[in-house]
């Protein structure tokens, strides 16, 4: 617990782990990061600002860890506003007794992810709390970005006729986390899709400047995003089950666990709503990007049943894709 006391032990921890990982320069540290406004204004006309906390069990999972998640998650939240991410902050809450080696691994993967994404971590904070006061490690990342001029993206802007796109296979992250947690004796190794999507959003907006809505389909999956969209835009959404891109391993995983891939979390998937005349260009642009190779149109916006998401099933029927209130409590009597 000495590491949390604010004394030299704390300083050693911060310098030895985080500063070493996140910065390349030897410049003295300040309490804040500063930005040149003129440089920001050259990129766009509005600031985007977001924050997110990450609590995931286990900390390490196939395809990523809590650190990559924290960096990608915040970059994606910025990118979904049509913004270019500029910088991140990072706050850590560490449970006493967590091996420093684990912190080092998380810091390293955060640094690597941030560096590869071209979005530096420029400020941060660390606290150590008593055993049981948190579970191993909680990470909070905050980010700022600059919204490109002319982009007007919002969850309430979808209109009948618009096309709904996703950039790839759904449910990988949720399935990876659950199988990492469960030791589920399944042959298939499913990896998290954790990835920063700002580059992909950039090419999408170049190809489809009229893009109406963008959301990353994290907790609650595509189902939650589309329900929110239908509600906020006052429109109906029609999906076709046969058009949903889901890996066969994830389908099988969901069947055994009694889950629906539409509700599984993703960490590198976005749902885009684009006007019909830009749909083809948007799809082509997504597919040309490494993170959008499996991009697909999964449905369209309709006037009927406003507020509802309706899926045409593989058997030709129709079913409502609901927002769930809690965990999936059994409904069959």
């Amino acid at each position: 617990l000495a590491h949390g006391g604010g004394g030299s032990a704390m300083r050693d921890l911060i310098e030895g782990v985080f500063i070493a990982a996140f910065t390349d320069s030897d410049a003295p540290l300040e309490d804040q990061a500063c930005f040149d406004l003129a440089a920001l204004a050259a990129v766009g006309d509005r600031l985007a600002f977001t924050t997110d906390s990450f609590v995931v069990d286990p900390l390490f999972f196939p395809g990523g860890d809590i650190g990559t998640l924290a960096v990608c998650g915040t970059i994606n939240d910025i990118a979904m506003g049509g913004a270019h991410p500029v910088a991140l902050s990072c706050a850590m809450i560490v449970e006493e007794g967590l091996p420093v080696e684990i912190l080092r691994r998380v810091a390293a993967s955060m640094a690597e992810t941030a560096r590869a994404a071209g979005v530096p971590i420029v400020t941060g904070d660390t606290k150590v709390v008593a055993r049981g006061a948190c579970d191993k490690l909680f990470v909070t990342t905050t980010g700022i970005g600059v919204v490109r001029a002319g982009a007007h993206i919002g969850i309430g802007r979808a209109r009948p006729g618009d096309i709904v796109l996703v950039n790839g296979l759904l449910g990988d992250h949720g399935a990876a986390i659950l199988s990492a947690r469960g030791d589920l004796a399944l042959d298939s190794a499913i990896e998290s899709d954790c990835a920063p999507l700002h580059g992909l959003v950039g090419v999408l907006l170049d190809a489809a400047p009229g893009t109406r809505s963008l959301r990353d389909a994290t907790r609650g999956g595509v189902a939650a995003v589309l329900n929110e969209l239908a509600e906020a835009s006052g429109v109906g959404v029609r999906l076709r089950e046969l058009d949903l891109p889901v890996r066969p391993e994830v389908v099988g995983f969901c069947e055994i666990l009694g889950l629906d891939p539409l509700y599984l979390a993703n960490e590198g998937k976005l749902v885009a709503v684009v006007p019909p005349e830009e749909a083809e260009a948007a799809l082509a642009a997504l597919r040309a990007h490494p993170l959008g190779r499996e991009a697909r149109a999964i449905g369209r916006i309709v006037e009927t049943r406003p507020g509802r998401v309706v899926m045409e099933t593989r058997f030709g029927g129709e079913r409502i894709v609901d927002m769930l209130v809690g965990d999936q409590l059994p409904r069959i009597c």
């Binding site: 004796a185 069947e255 029927g317 129709e318 809690g326 999936q328 059994p330 409904r331 069959i332 009597c333």
Partner: protein
């Protein structure tokens, strides 16, 4: 006179009676009652009153009669007065099977309606299925496009005729007509004869009925039945049958008098009957099933068709697998393409989908399992203490959806709407909310829903309550089940608490876990859980309700040492993954469900495929197997553990004994029989102990599992000797189809208490 006295030919009946006895005066509909002004010498009036009660039309149900002396009034003979305003629901009654008089008429070669498929009268014919609005007369039904010919006009206006004021009357000159279409082209000639010819030759036809289309084929023709199953993507679920008459039925099923009476009744339900060994039916009709769903013809069209084909017909609802029954002409044309060879239809539109009702006789009474055509919309009186309760709208559960309206001491349980995970059912649900409110002039003062936050009905109820500024009353699932049994059986609000035995699938409990095998201490306003089956993890949530092996694994793991669980039970199934899910708590809600216990036993006995293809598949097979065990076989004992005021009924000893019996080569039927007897004994004894402890004066039995006749018989046998009244559902389904009825009772009682 109050009760079911409107729309059932009551006024002409009174008119004819008055004429016969020489009574002067008038009869009219007033509100929901019939008012009679009668003048005659006292002894004639007495005879008149007696005859009113004794000779009332078959469909009428007189609940109360008020008699008051009248001042002298002027009259000229006896007349039928026009309906007074405010007579909103008059005539919105259930559809009624063809009456003997109409049947005789279509068979009479010299009658005007000889072989006319749409013959009906005041005592029979379509009602709710043709009503589109109010006030109920021909102009607000789907008959409005057919203008009465002079002769029909005369029948309609003649109080002496049995068609007096029968809104759907028609004849070949002015009424609806049949048409047979094959491949989109109309077939010339007599549609009935042509259709009958095709059916006997093995064709599959859609036939328009009262509340929807059926798909029919020759039930003795294996090729036709197998082809129907293939086209409908319905591999194993039993198909309902229609038989011509008693003689044909006797060839196929063993029929008790109470069963025959139910079949012939005005509601003409599908009745579950024991099939005879060697019944001449296509093997794939109801593979491995000891019960058959059978009905008699209930429209002239069906009577004429059955006479022409002279063999049992499959008569299954026309839909694509899993979807609701089709009832619109266009839908039938499009939706049934590739499923049927042709459509025997007609030009009288159906106003709303009404599935055939389903019932069975169990523990000595007719018990409704699905309340549809012929039963809805008949109001039921609530116990007298509810007469001052505020009006409530209850929205029921998620599956087998039905809504219920209550007002002034009566409750109106809607027809079966279907499962709310279906889009078309959600539409029907919305329509029913508006439709019933308008038809019965209902203005609720509160909305009642299940506690489950993800039931679509609960969410809709929350929305409605918010929109209209009404209180929203949440009712625990099994409290509603038990309250339904109490209210149906007339248990008064102030009669004290009862002990409820709720044996059910799954419903959300007050502790956030799923319940379904509970002993409850209930009055209308409160319920308290006294005992329950030990909870087990339902690995995969709802998937566990479709895959009984998951529940079996959870039960056996909780009951037996690992070495004693026969590993062959889970051959080829991902048991290791399931165990990991359970160990880590990944999507494994806890449940104390009787339905799942029966599923698990069915899985142990090899009666359940890895994935059920329809609800109840495993449980029905298990019941049939138990019923097939001749004689008595004892029972498996359950354990009971008390933990701070809540008794846990532990199935572990039962599982150990059953697994041992299985290993020792006991016949599976004996194991199934011992299981049924054991479950009944465990819950009966827990209920009796609770009744003694809390001084409860009645026992109420409900929940979907109570539809199991073998189980119900065992329960009644053990409980009846105590002399405590047994409140068992009959007209209100014991399954979730009756939930809204119980919700109404609970909500109304709580509102009265405020």
């Amino acid at each position: 006179m109050r009760g079911l006295v409107q729309g059932v030919g009551f006024r002409p009946f009174v008119w004819r009676l008055a004429r016969r006895l020489g009574v002067e005066g008038k009869v009219s509909n007033v509100g929901d009652a019939v008012s009679i002004h009668a003048a005659a010498p006292p002894e004639v009036l007495e005879a008149f009153a007696l005859a009113l009660a004794e000779e009332a039309p078959p469909l009428a149900r007189v609940e109360t009669v008020e008699r008051t002396p009248s001042r002298p009034f002027r009259c000229d003979g006896f007349t039928i007065a026009a309906s007074a305003p405010g007579t909103v629901s008059a005539g919105v009654v259930p559809d009624i099977a063809t009456c003997p008089a109409c049947l005789a008429e279509i068979r009479d070669p010299v009658a005007r309606r000889h072989r006319y498929a749409f013959t009906n009268c005041t005592d029979c014919g379509p009602r709710f299925s043709i009503v589109e609005g109010l006030p109920y007369d021909r102009a607000t039904t789907t008959m409005r496009g057919f203008h009465l010919c002079r002769e029909c006009q005369r029948d309609y206006g003649d109080p002496a005729d049995r068609r007096f004021h029968a809104q759907p009357i028609a004849c070949p000159a002015c009424g609806p007509r049949l048409a047979l279409e094959l491949g989109g082209a109309r077939v010339p000639g007599d549609p009935l004869a042509e259709a009958a010819g095709r059916l006997t030759a093995g064709a599959i036809l859609a036939i328009k009925g009262i509340g929807g289309f059926h798909i029919a084929c020759d039930a003795t023709n294996e090729a036709a039945v197998a082809e129907l199953r293939r086209r409908k993507c319905r591999p194993v679920k039993p198909l309902a049958l229609m038989v011509r008459d008693r003689a044909m039925l006797d060839q196929l099923c063993a029929v008790e008098p109470a069963e025959w009476e139910a079949l012939c009744g005005p509601s003409a339900p599908i009745l579950l009957l024991c099939r005879r060994d060697g019944a001449m039916l296509a093997p794939s009709l109801a593979p491995g099933n000891a019960l058959l769903g059978v009905m008699l013809p209930y429209t002239p069209l069906q009577h004429l068709l059955m006479e022409a084909v002279d063999r049992p017909l499959v008569m299954t609802s026309a839909n694509r697998s899993g979807e609701p029954q089709i009832y619109r002409d266009e839908e039938a044309r499009e939706g049934l393409e590739g499923i049927v060879d042709g459509v025997l239809g007609h030009d009288r539109p159906i106003a709303r989908r009404l599935d055939d009702s389903v019932a069975r006789v169990a523990a000595g009474a007719l018990r409704v399992m699905r309340r549809g055509r012929g039963l809805a919309p008949a109001p039921r009186p609530l116990p007298p203490s509810f007469s001052s309760a505020p009006a409530v709208l209850a929205l029921g559960g998620e599956l087998k959806s039905a809504i219920c309206l209550s007002t002034a001491g009566r409750a109106l349980l809607s027809h079966h709407l279907g499962d709310l995970d279906e889009l078309t059912t959600q539409d029907a649900f919305e329509t029913a909310i508006a439709d019933y409110a308008a038809l019965f002039d209902h203005r609720p003062e509160a909305i009642a829903v299940d506690l489950h936050p993800d039931y679509r009905a609960s969410r809709r109820g929350a929305g409605l309550a918010a929109e209209r500024g009404l209180p929203l009353i949440g009712v625990q699932h099994h409290h509603a089940h038990i309250a339904a049994a109490m209210a149906e059986n007339g248990w008064a609000v102030d009669a004290g608490p009862v002990i409820g035995i709720a044996l059910d699938g799954l419903g959300l409990g007050e502790d956030g876990t799923a319940w379904g095998a509970e002993i409850l201490l209930c009055d209308y306003t409160h319920s308290r859980r006294l005992a329950r089956l030990r909870s087990i993890p339902l690995a995969g949530g709802d998937v566990a309700s479709r895959e009984p092996w998951r529940v079996l694994l959870a039960h056996l793991d909780a009951s037996l040492p690992p070495g004693e669980i026969p590993p062959a039970l889970f051959d080829g199934l991902p048991a290791a993954t399931l165990r990991a899910m359970i160990a880590r708590g990944i999507n494994v809600p806890l449940a104390s469900s009787a339905g799942r216990l029966f599923d698990a036993m069915a899985a142990l006995l090899g009666l359940a495929p890895p994935r059920l293809s329809f609800e109840g598949e495993a449980a029905m097979a298990l019941e049939a197997l138990a019923a097939s065990a001749p004689g008595t076989h004892g029972f498996y004992a359950f354990g009971v553990v008390a933990e701070n005021g809540l008794a846990t009924i532990d199935p572990a000893p039962m599982w150990r004994a059953a697994v041992a019996d299985l290993g020792a080569g006991q016949p599976r039927a004996v194991i199934a029989a011992r299981f049924h007897a054991g479950v009944a004994r465990a819950f009966a004894d827990a209920a009796l102990a609770a009744a003694a402890e809390y001084g409860a004066r009645a026992l109420a039995l409900s929940g979907g599992v109570m539809q199991n006749a073998v189980l119900l018989d065992h329960l009644v046998a053990r409980l009846a000797p105590t002399g405590l009244p047994l409140l068992i559902p009959a007209e209100v389904p014991a399954n979730d189809g009756g939930l809204a009825f119980g919700q109404v009772a609970v909500a109304a009682a709580r509102l009265m208490q405020r």
